[in-house]
Subunit: 342 residues, 2 copies
DNA sequence: GTGAAAGCGCTAACAC
DNA sequence: GTGTTAGCGCTTTCAC
């Protein structure tokens, strides 16, 4: 550091504690603690002297000591598969907004799509004694579940639904999404379909139920292309290419595991001069911001991610206040948005 | 919680401490501490008994107590303007990867683009006694700088460059980016230009230097459209619309503050049947994953965000080991990637 | 309204 | 190698 450590008051702030502040204000350390946690328990005069002392010393309370003494860290652990995937980020954002408004800070890690990797992170996070835990998805190792249950804190699993949640669960049924996509395709009159998916378990679950239902209703599934763990425009383009070149796809609807993939399909179709939606229809998933503004606008499955994050936060907050949330399992649902691409 | 709290060993794990584990293993609490922090300091036989006791009890070390005692939290505070903006997320990702490999966990918050909001978050984070601080950008309030300096921990400011960093600074000169974009435009033969920008200070700084340089070299700036704080495909489309309708833009290059904006411009141009790049040329910023796969492929400014995050992490780690990093100011540079859109 | 005492569960000396 | 003694800087409880 280039500058000597000085605070607004012009004093070194190396190790300022409540005791220091108290001494300066002519009160004990406990009173300083009270002043900060509940000003109404301290006389206005004292309060003012303490405030002055804080300003002079540049005192910053030590939340680590506070957490140890109170056994409440005001920290929420959150594990998301990917930091750069907008879908997870937007859920986190609304979750974290509400939590922060209530005085909680986020301990965030990227856990990928493998339960084994997640387990290690859960252990690491648990050692920080978070007050609650946010997990993406419902598939965890047995040990992970045990640790989480043993920690005896609110746990919320988002973005999926199960009959056996660890604690709270807010999401939707991916299987139902696949079914709805297939129903949509059939009802819109498409007799042929193909799929382009990322390789994560949820994407594949949606795809499989799409294929099952579409076939069951008499449609023809021409082919499925999937990529290991990465949705991208590049893979979307490659997906359509493979569907055409390797599976002989010539016309029909392409169901994608994400809007990013769908965008790639759209671009590749345009490049190949295939008419959308007449020759190639495209259905995405996620309804990301850009979906409505592509040309042609992308039909997709909307999941209200902000509502999901908010709902998860509300349930956790309820538990944190020792009340029970309205429901430990919230089906946030989804909606197919038909636009110009299909 | 639906299930009673039980660990793998089948015992309640309510309040298992090192003392509990020690008692079970027939050693003192300190020996357990040593076994966990440095197994070589403990005899193999003891080690094994301790390991057994840990398995039986399901002991999870309390990092809060550890942090208080050792004055090292193994926590890194990170503030990013937006969780959902891929540009910031991808820097964070590589930063966090390297930090986690070294045993550090992330305390992450979204701070928006206003220094005043950032200041509050800095105070909140500092109370958790992080071992280091990651900030996006170089503009902070005076009080924020004081607090950070007073905390006497490594601080890294990323995504910009200044002569007066708080501590470490890894980024590039946004002004130079604007200049380079203007030089590129002129040298590619464009005599007219327009800009479409988000409203944050860095985007505007790039834009202003673009306009200055482009004009200085004899180009004509037809108009500038900016949106308060939000880059999106929608705003990109609207940006081109306004440039044409309100500023009479008819042909030339459009310099955008992000690839997302540029994508919107591209789509709107396509919709209006304006030839790209012949009538409308587009230059983005960021070189996001999708940029190379748009049609036409997007020319843009590449900043190696992974290198940036990694470089920031390396510098912080060096400081954390009480060594000084090679340099406290790293110019990571940038590169204009010419593709089909200009 | 304020203070004294007793921890929270660890790590950091220092003995042996 | 292992144990003992002191804290780390707060919150909690109980007195006054």
């Amino acid at each position: 550091m280039n500058v000597p450590a000085r605070t607004s008051g012009g004093r070194p702030s190396g190790r300022v504690t409540m005791a220091t502040v108290g001494k300066l204000a002519g009160v004990s350390q406990v009173t300083v603690s009270r002043a900060l946690s509940d000003p109404s328990k301290v006389s206005p005069a004292t309060m003012q002297r303490i405030q002055q002392a804080i300003d002079i010393t540049g005192f910053v309370p030590n939340a680590v000591a506070g957490a140890l003494a109170s056994r409440r860290s005001k920290l929420i652990s959150a594990l998301v598969p990917s930091l750069t995937n907008n879908v997870y980020a937007s859920m986190m954002q609304s979750f974290s907004d509400l939590m922060r408004d209530n005085g909680y800070e986020l301990l965030l890690s990227e856990c990928g799509f493998l339960p084994e990797a997640e387990e290690k992170l859960i252990a690491a996070h648990l050692s920080r004694r978070p007050d609650a835990f946010y997990l993406t998805g419902i598939h965890h190792t047995a040990r992970a579940r045990q640790m989480l249950i043993g920690a005896d804190i609110p746990v919320v699993e988002v973005w999926d639904l199960t009959d056996a949640p660890i604690d709270i669960c807010v999401g939707f049924h991916h299987r139902e999404v696949g079914w709805a996509m297939a129903d949509f395709a059939k009802e819109a009159g498409y007799s042929h379909a193909g799929t382009v998916s990322a390789g994560d378990e949820r994407a594949l679950r949606r795809r499989d139920s799409f294929v099952d239902r579409f076939s069951a209703r008499g449609g023809t599934c021409v082919g499925n292309v999937s990529f290991s763990y990465s949705a991208s425009v590049a893979n979307g383009r490659l997906g359509l290419t493979r569907l055409i070149d390797e599976h002989g796809f010539s016309s029909g609807l392409i169901a994608c595991s994400s809007d990013l993939m769908a965008q790639g399909v759209l671009i590749e179709a345009q490049k190949r001069n295939l008419a959308v939606p007449d020759q190639i229809a495209v259905l995405g998933f996620g309804d990301q911001d850009f979906a409505a503004f592509l040309e042609p606008a992308l039909s997709t499955v909307r999941v209200d991610r902000r509502a999901l994050g908010t709902s998860a936060a509300q349930a956790v907050l309820k538990r944190l206040q020792h009340a029970s949330p309205e429901s430990a399992r919230v089906d946030i649902g989804f909606e197919i948005i038909r636009r110009a691409s299909s």
